[in-house]
């Protein structure tokens, strides 16, 4: 099978080093992965091509890269699944991290953020003589997060990191979840308080890029959502994010619908003087919207029919009551 690899390259040793693209036309086997074809280039076409790789079996996490613009593992991506009708595949280094050479990037920012979440178990009290006793259910859900191979694919495609490099990002937050969810850890509340700060769990925009990019099914965003839930449940609620989630829940329970008008003050915290600034900052948009007749209705919409409203409330009571 013929494939055209269009590789984003960069040689920092070259004078006036600039990124450039280079095409390789290869005859390869149908079972070849993107990584197989890059190794082929490195071994037989151009030994200067730099790419990190080792296991070829999606467990070492070395070969995250962008294939046709989206992050994945080179070794887990079959060529045949990503070639266009002309047999072309575009390969680039991951995003949101500085480039070193060709497909190799600097992972320092990645690891700095992992370090920032105190990524180690911190049990409380004396260690038991034997193992900690914990139900299989309390541990099994952590195996999915432990499946994270720290490849950086999620961080590469994170839309928040594109505009704010301070965001902890999906990998570090998923790692943090792994400890807050561990029954052996004694620092859950402290961890949640930390994660509740600026650049933490509430800055995720829920865009699902990390869920889509993760080659191991870790679904970092869903871990972030679980952290939000835990934080609210732990009584740490003095954030716009927590108030936002609570407000949406209250509105839907009350009327079956969102109430965008009231969502603003509820999120900023009506009686929170610290939030007054942000509240005022939101007003010009509101006034402009008002002039355009765009502002949400003053009397919020409801689902029609009393019985429907009751049914919605009943679901809330039943599900939330059980919690």
């Amino acid at each position: 099978m013929r494939v055209t690899l269009d590789i984003g390259r960069f040689n920092p040793d070259a004078p006036n080093a600039k990124p450039y693209r280079q095409e390789f036309i290869l005859e390869v086997e149908e079972y070849y992965t993107v990584l197989d074809s890059l190794i082929y280039v490195r071994e037989y076409e151009d030994p200067t091509l730099a790419v990190r790789c080792s296991c070829r079996a999606s467990i070492c996490g070395s070969c995250a890269m962008r294939v046709n613009g989206h992050a994945s593992l080179g070794c887990k991506t079959k060529l045949i699944s990503v070639m266009d009708k002309d047999g072309r595949v575009r390969v680039d280094p991951v995003g949101n991290m500085p480039r070193v050479k060709d497909l190799v990037w600097d992972m320092k920012p990645f690891w700095d953020k992992i370090r920032a979440v105190d990524p180690f178990l911190q049990p409380e009290g004396p260690e038991p003589e034997e193992e900690y006793i914990a139900s299989p259910e309390s541990m099994l859900h952590l195996v999915g997060v432990m499946g994270c191979i720290m490849c950086g694919a999620c961080v590469s495609d994170c839309t928040v990191l594109e505009v704010d490099e301070n965001f902890l990002g999906p990998a570090a937050l998923a790692k943090a979840y792994r400890f807050t969810g561990d029954p052996r850890d004694g620092k859950t509340k402290e961890r949640l308080k930390e994660l509740n700060e600026y650049s933490g769990i509430w800055d995720c925009t829920r865009c699902m890029e990390c869920v889509q990019a993760c080659p191991k099914g870790v679904a970092p965003m869903e871990r972030i959502m679980a952290l939000r839930d835990k934080t609210i449940a732990a009584g740490i609620r003095n954030t716009n994010g927590a108030r936002h989630a609570e407000a949406v829940s209250d509105f839907v329970k009350k009327s079956g619908k969102l109430d965008e008008l009231r969502l603003v003050p509820r999120t900023y915290g009506m009686f929170n003087p610290m939030s007054l600034n942000s509240l005022f900052a939101a007003i010009p948009v509101g006034l402009r919207a008002l002039r355009r007749g765009k502002l949400p209705p003053i009397i919020p919409h409801k689902v029609e029919g009393k019985e429907n409203l009751q049914a919605v409330r009943r679901i809330f009571d039943k599900v939330e009551g059980k919690k």
Binding site: N11, P12, D13, E29, Y31, D36, I39, R42, E43, Y44, D46, P47, T48, A50, V51, R52, C53, S54, C55, R56, A57, S58, I59, C60, G61, S62, K76, K78, V100, K101, V104, D106, M107, I114, R115, P119, F120, L121, P123, E127, E130, E131, Y132, I133, A134, S135, P136, S138, M139, L140, L142, V143, M146, G147, C148, I149, M150, D182, R184
Partner: protein, 561 residues
């Protein structure tokens, strides 16, 4: 160039390397870990099935584990070392659990086990089928916790000797800059892993290139039992990727093209869970005698049901789908024996010490020897944890007693010149990749599951020819930053050196034992070969000597499963 100084330098950041580092730090030493890839990229990741330990508190007996390990080793393992490993295993598991490893649990919330090959009892602790990865990441968490010094993506090019021929440091290239550094140390622990890439194909990652074995061999340490190369019974056809023994541990069948569970013939008691050498030979026999399917036999998991496959074997489920396009719940998977593990390695005592002062080794690159002629599944992770810790302890203790390191900063010039030569040389049509591929194929043909004199001689001949060609090799990449072309060339040099020790050890062992099965000498010969092959570098090439096997209480017996 920069010069660094530490008490203990650990080369390699897999399970053995990180465990050694943690141990030495705990003993108060100033430790640095040098690794050619980021720690969590290490190949310990790929260990899937689990880690063996007899937890005496729940009725298991470490003596039984030791006996089965001895039997698995085909009596070539040193029984004192095996006893140490098996006795300390239980505490090591608990320690790992306390560090944070998420071992699978039973209904009572205690650690659960599965059964592995060559053992009667289920004593394999595991994290689904990603045990190595789960342990590696937890050890790295501990490394971050103690803020250990890690030189990441530094490739060690040689060990540094002082005037008394003691190892007192390493020279390494920093990949990001291409700079060469001298790192002085009172003790150096090699934890660089196996020899997988000497073979093609192999289950091993591309980074598994026999670095430590070659580094140690070059400074006068010996390598032992290198001919004992394990072929894993279940590897994928195309790229040789591993399918865990846990599949069979959970009940999967091996069948030939007629659908027969052929292990009935070869190991009627243990069936699919006989030791790996036995299963691999049985498979190869079926394939050779025309009962295979396209050079493979079939691993059948269908009767285990989708739920078990998806929860306990989720990783191989993913691998089978990604790389073989097989849905394990619906179709049998074609598999075959493939290069997997090096039982031999740098000769050490139970504390990781080599006969060369200042030099230690642990993990797959070392040979204590606990695996002898054949390693039991799930004993490799145990080996790394137990002997990694012991080597770290010993190196830290010895470093305390060691005076000032007397090594001139100018020793670095030897490596600098050698690398400059390599870089300056014009590349020919020969490349590191071509040489490695030819070596790998020759080894896989001549020194594999079934061996004979002629085949092994052919492999040796090829390796020696390739060594000649290697001396003229140049590199294409003349750059400084992340020059993997240069690193690859250096690795091929290490592998060729090691391949030769494997070949000559195998040729000299005129018997069949464990993984070393000769069709021209099909029987075990305890009278002449119940001994370790020891290869040391002499002035004009490798020199073979032998050392006795330590037998404590298990006299060699006929081995059947």
């Amino acid at each position: 160039m920069a010069v660094y100084q530490h008490d203990v330098v650990v080369v390699g950041a897999g399970l053995a390397g990180m465990r050694a580092t943690l141990a030495a730090i705990q003993k108060g030493a100033d430790v640095a870990m040098i690794t050619k890839v980021h720690p969590v990229r290490s190949h310990s990741n790929a260990a899937q099935g689990g880690i063996n330990a007899a937890l005496t508190s729940r009725g298991d007996d470490w003596d039984e584990h030791a006996y089965e390990t001895v039997k698995g080793s085909d009596y070539l393992g040193d029984q004192d070392a095996i006893e140490v490993m098996c006795q300390e295993a239980g505490a090591a598991i608990i320690e790992l659990e306390h560090m944070g490893v998420i071992f699978n649990r039973d209904e009572d919330g205690r650690l659960g086990t599965r059964r592995f090959g060559g053992q009667q009892r289920a004593r394999t602790f595991h994290v689904a089928d990603i045990t190595g990865q789960a342990m590696l990441h937890v050890l790295y968490e501990q490394i971050l916790k103690v803020r250990a010094r890690v030189y990441e993506e530094w490739f060690v090019t040689s060990l540094v000797l002082d005037d008394n021929k003691a190892v007192r440091g390493v020279v390494a290239i920093e990949l990001m800059t291409g700079q060469l550094h001298l790192i002085k140390a009172k003790a150096v622990i090699l934890c660089t892993g196996g020899t997988g890439r000497v073979y093609e194909p192999s289950t091993n990652g591309l980074i598994v290139t026999a670095d430590g074995q070659a580094l140690a061999y070059a400074v006068g340490a010996s390598v032992m039992d290198m001919e004992m190369v394990q072929y894993h019974p279940t590897t994928l056809m195309g790229n040789g990727v591993l399918i865990t023994e846990a599949a069979r541990g959970e009940g999967a069948y091996l069948v030939n093209k007629d659908g027969d569970r052929f292990m009935q013939k070869y190991a009627p008691n243990f069936m699919e869970l006989a030791s790996r050498d036995v299963v691999s030979r049985s498979e190869q026999t079926e394939i050779n005698e025309g009962r295979g399917v396209d050079g493979c036999v079939l691993l059948d998991l269908r009767h285990l049901g989708r739920e078990l496959i998806e929860t306990k074997l989720s990783y191989i489920n993913e691998v089978a789908l990604d790389f073989a396009n097989v849905n394990l719940a619906e179709q049998p998977l074609p598999i075959r024996p493939g290069n997997h593990y090096e039982m031999g390695g740098i000769k050490t005592d139970v504390n990781g010490r080599t006969p060369v002062a200042g030099l230690y080794a642990a993990g797959e690159c070392a040979c204590v020897s606990v695996h002898g002629g054949n390693r039991l599944g799930a004993n490799s992770l145990l080996d790394t944890i137990i002997f990694g810790r012991r080597a770290g302890d010993a190196a830290a203790a010895d470093a305390k007693e060691t005076g000032e390191v007397k090594v001139s900063d100018s020793v670095i010039s030897i490596d600098r010149d050698a690398i400059k030569n390599l870089m300056d040389r014009n590349p020919t049509s020969d490349t590191p990749a071509k040489i490695r591929l030819e070596m790998g194929k020759a080894m896989n043909e001549g020194v594999a599951v079934f061996r004979d004199e002629a085949g092994m001689q052919r492999a040796l001949h090829t390796v020696r020819e390739l060594r000649e060609r290697f001396t003229g090799l140049g590199v294409h990449d003349k750059g400084q930053v992340f020059n993997t072309n240069l690193i690859f060339a250096l690795e091929v040099g290490f592998m060729l050196e090691t391949a030769e020790t494997i070949c000559i050890g195998a040729i000299a062992r005129k018997e069949s034992r464990g993984a070393h099965f000769r069709t021209d000498y099909p029987n075990r010969d305890d009278e002449n070969f119940l001994k370790h092959t020891v290869v040391t570098k002499g002035p004009s090439g490798p020199v073979i000597t032998y050392s006795p096997v330590t037998v404590t209480k298990w006299k060699p017996q006929v081995r059947s499963y």
